[in-house]
């Protein structure tokens, strides 16, 4: 990064570039107060950072401004990367979005640029050299902050996904020989594999002969997951268990048919209760209510 900065130092005239930069930085520092205010106002006009309070915005914009000018001065992007990560970690849970972060950095760049134009307009040649120096540095800063934010977001999403997957096994032993696997939410291929693994292990551990896979809580499935469901039913059979799929919404049933999934390979029942009844039947259970009055009929 610093070597790129070296390059920036020598666009036109080797000697004067260093001066140009220091004059640029000095100007930005001198006018810190008013430029920050202008920036904060532009942010609010653009309705960005609505998730944050005014004090928070003031604190963060102060830090960003100082970091921005520091990087312009030193070219040390590592410090900025660290700051960007840190900032992102703080604001992502607050609901700040990518477009907002990019937006405010671009607004700052705009504010600083206009300030340079206003102040140095009479010194045209110097202004030109300042812009030559400012533009690439400002661009690098914008990219660093934006990329840092996006990376942090992806990291957090990944962590959340792991946490969801880590929730204890959803395979429920209900009666002797009967397991229920309620599936809730959107299933991606990795989660599908995990669920199948848990189901098969559950069949072995519980010596289940019937498994009811309830997909009532699944809003939609794609062909990969649908085919995976068929494979799961087949794998369960290899372990000696019959699988009954319940809770297929009309939409999902339609999807399955359209995808050419062979529904004859699946035992389907429309709802969970029906599925359990069918399972009981298959297992040879009959569920009857214990009722006082029926004793009469038995002739006691």
């Amino acid at each position: 990064m610093s070597s790129a900065r070296e390059k920036n130092k020598r666009p036109r005239s080797q000697h004067r570039s260093a001066d140009v930069f220091s004059e640029l930085v000095a100007h930005l520092r001198k006018n810190r107060g008013s430029l920050q205010e202008e920036w904060a106002q532009r942010i609010s006009e653009a309705r960005l950072l609505t998730a944050m309070s005014d004090e928070e915005i003031l604190t963060e914009t102060t830090s960003i401004y100082d970091n921005y000018v520091d990087v312009l001065e030193t070219g040390a992007v590592e410090a900025l990367q660290a700051y960007a990560r840190n900032l992102s970690e703080r604001i992502i849970p607050r609901g700040v979005e990518t477009h907002e972060v990019i937006g405010i950095v671009l607004l700052l760049r705009d504010v600083l640029l206009r300030s340079l134009l206003r102040h140095f307009q009479s010194r045209f040649e110097l202004l030109g050299r300042m812009l030559d120096a400012f533009e690439p540095a400002a661009r690098r800063i914008t990219v660093t902050v934006a990329v840092g934010f996006v990376h942090e977001r992806e990291r957090i999403i990944h962590e959340q996904q792991d946490a969801i997957r880590g929730l204890s096994t959803p395979v429920l032993p209900v009666r002797e020989g009967l397991l229920i696997l309620p599936i809730v939410g959107v299933i991606d291929p990795q989660r599908a594999r995990q669920l199948t693994g848990q189901l098969l292990q559950g069949i072995r551990a519980n010596r289940a002969k019937v498994v009811v896979i309830d997909v009532t809580g699944v809003p939609s499935i794609n062909s990969t997951v649908a085919n995976h469901l068929v494979l799961t039913v087949e794998a369960a059979r290899l372990l000696g268990a019959t699988a009954i799929v319940t809770g297929l919404s009309p939409e999902i049933a339609q999807t399955l048919v359209t995808l050419g999934v062979d529904l004859t390979k699946m035992n389907t029942v429309c709802d969970l209760r029906g599925g359990i009844e069918e399972a009981d039947h298959a297992l040879g259970f009959k569920v009857t209510r214990i009722d006082e009055s029926s004793n009469e009929e038995k002739g006691w």
Partner: protein
């Protein structure tokens, strides 16, 4: 390596101990077919608990075993397929279609008793 085959009443139980070469699988098929005839067994249980892989050749041979045993008037059930093995098999498209399966030896014997009892009664009903 030969797979040990034990006679338990009217059934034969073949317990695979370790990964089998193609020739061993063929050998097992032929031995079972022969012994079902010799002992007039009603059922064959093949226990594959020890196998960590069931590839296309193994599945085809198990399928052949079931077919040939059926021709001899007996039932076959494959038991002990491990969860991970089962999942790999179905992903490869190996479903052992038409071949009975059960969780383990105990379940396999239960299955045999139910199935062969029906057939037995069917034959002797007046």
């Amino acid at each position: 390596m030969q797979v040990p085959i034990l006679k338990q009443g009217p059934y034969l139980i073949a317990s695979v101990q370790a990964a089998l070469k193609d020739a061993d699988l063929i050998g097992l098929r032929d031995a079972l077919t022969e012994q079902v005839g010799t002992y007039r067994s009603r059922g064959v249980i093949v226990d594959v608990t020890a196998l960590d892989v069931l590839d296309s050749f193994a599945c085809r041979t198990l399928s052949d075993i079931a077919s040939m045993i059926r021709l001899r008037g007996a039932q076959t059930v494959i038991v002990g397929i491990q969860p991970e093995v089962a999942f790999s098999m179905v992903q490869l498209g190996l479903k052992l279609e038409g071949v009975a399966t059960a969780l383990d030896l105990e379940e396999g014997l239960e299955y045999m008793k139910r199935r062969t009892k029906r057939i037995h009664h069917g034959l002797y009903e007046a």
